[in-house]
Assembly symmetry: C2
Homo-oligomer: 217 residues x 2
């Protein structure tokens, strides 16, 4: 069981705090707003109303004792940077900081935040990718500039065919990793695996997989 501190209970901070609690860890939640503290008090180990910019306050908490501290207030960039800076000075083991912009992210990197996240920005990029790919691509995660993991609906041209017959790796450099069929999941299917309509395929492929899929039909 781990111990975590979450500073700032916006949509992101609240989600981190609740998820950590749901996994059985201890969470100290801090926010400047009394209302937010009231809302979350019953769901976390401890909830404290305070201005995290107040150096006395941060010193009074044993920040070095937590497995990680999450700085999840971002609109006030000055507060976010000062708090991250002070946590570093107090010996916090691991600091996750939410950034408001790419530039803000670079400052956080320089002052030693261990993980910097841009929830809205990253999600914006993913949505732009999902919108512009043919609707058949349901999700993707970038592996390298040229390859990604894609999750897509099995194209018409696959139905009734086996993985061996389709020879996807040799023809299109598509490597099928797993297939979801309803609740069942087939990991690393063999050459004799036959596709049905409605199968969801998870595969590694080149970035232009969409063009390939529409060719196969």
């Amino acid at each position: 069981m781990g111990q975590y501190a979450v500073i700032g209970l916006g949509r992101f901070g609240e989600s981190v705090a609740r998820s950590l609690m749901a996994m059985g860890h201890e969470v100290l939640a801090i926010d400047i707003s009394e209302e937010k503290i009231q809302e979350i008090a019953d769901f976390v180990t401890e909830a404290v109303r305070a201005d995290a910019k107040n150096e006395e306050f941060l010193r009074s908490m044993d920040m070095a004792g937590f497995d990680a501290v999450v700085v999840s207030m971002a609109q006030d960039i000055e507060a976010n940077i000062l708090v991250t800076m002070q946590l570093k000075g107090l010996g916090a083991k691991y600091i996750v900081a939410k950034a408001q912009s790419q530039l803000h992210g670079e400052v956080l990197e320089r002052i030693g935040a261990d993980k910097i996240i841009h929830p809205e920005w990253d999600m914006g990029e993913r949505i732009a990718h999902l919108l512009t790919s043919s609707r058949s691509i349901m999700d993707y995660i970038e592996l390298s500039p040229h390859y990604s993991i894609f999750e897509f609906l099995s194209p018409q041209g696959f139905h009734g065919q086996s993985l061996g017959q389709l020879d996807l790796r040799a023809k299109y450099s598509i490597s099928v990793l797993a297939v979801k069929r309803g609740e069942e999941i087939f990991i690393a299917p063999g050459g004799d695996f036959t596709f049905y309509e409605g199968d969801i395929i998870i595969a590694i492929g080149p970035k232009d997989i969409e063009g390939t899929l529409s060719q196969i039909g």
Copy 2:
């Protein structure tokens, strides 16, 4: 080349608009704030200052002509719902709507939004997972209640060993999908692939993979 409309240029909306432009598509950006419109005007096909709640305004734009419309203003839940509702009435082909909370998301689903996203909430869950897994897990994507795709640093116990020798699938149901070594990526490595220190492994495995990895050492 597609045509997209983005209503609301917060961190998320701006990211969607800029990413779509970078991929060579056309983007109409709408925001109530003149300042936001000025900032983005040079980077999108067209930028219009307007209150999206104004029914006359939405009717005057050919919303049905866009491949997708993104409703990326979320703090004003009423505006977000009314705009989504009206877009549906105007025949928008595909609506992506940002939700402020789980409940708001349910309302959007009921009124017919095609894709509902919770950027901060989803990222909060991911961060909570990454924080509580041993630092060796760098990223993960859930496939089913029991399996996920994990990205992790090759454990000490793998170095100098081949995939065949380690026999990971039989022993631990871990299926190595790809290995990243610096800029290079090896897709679906064969049994003779030997691991080096610093390799990053992408594999499908059971949710308790962390316990397994620390056993291997």
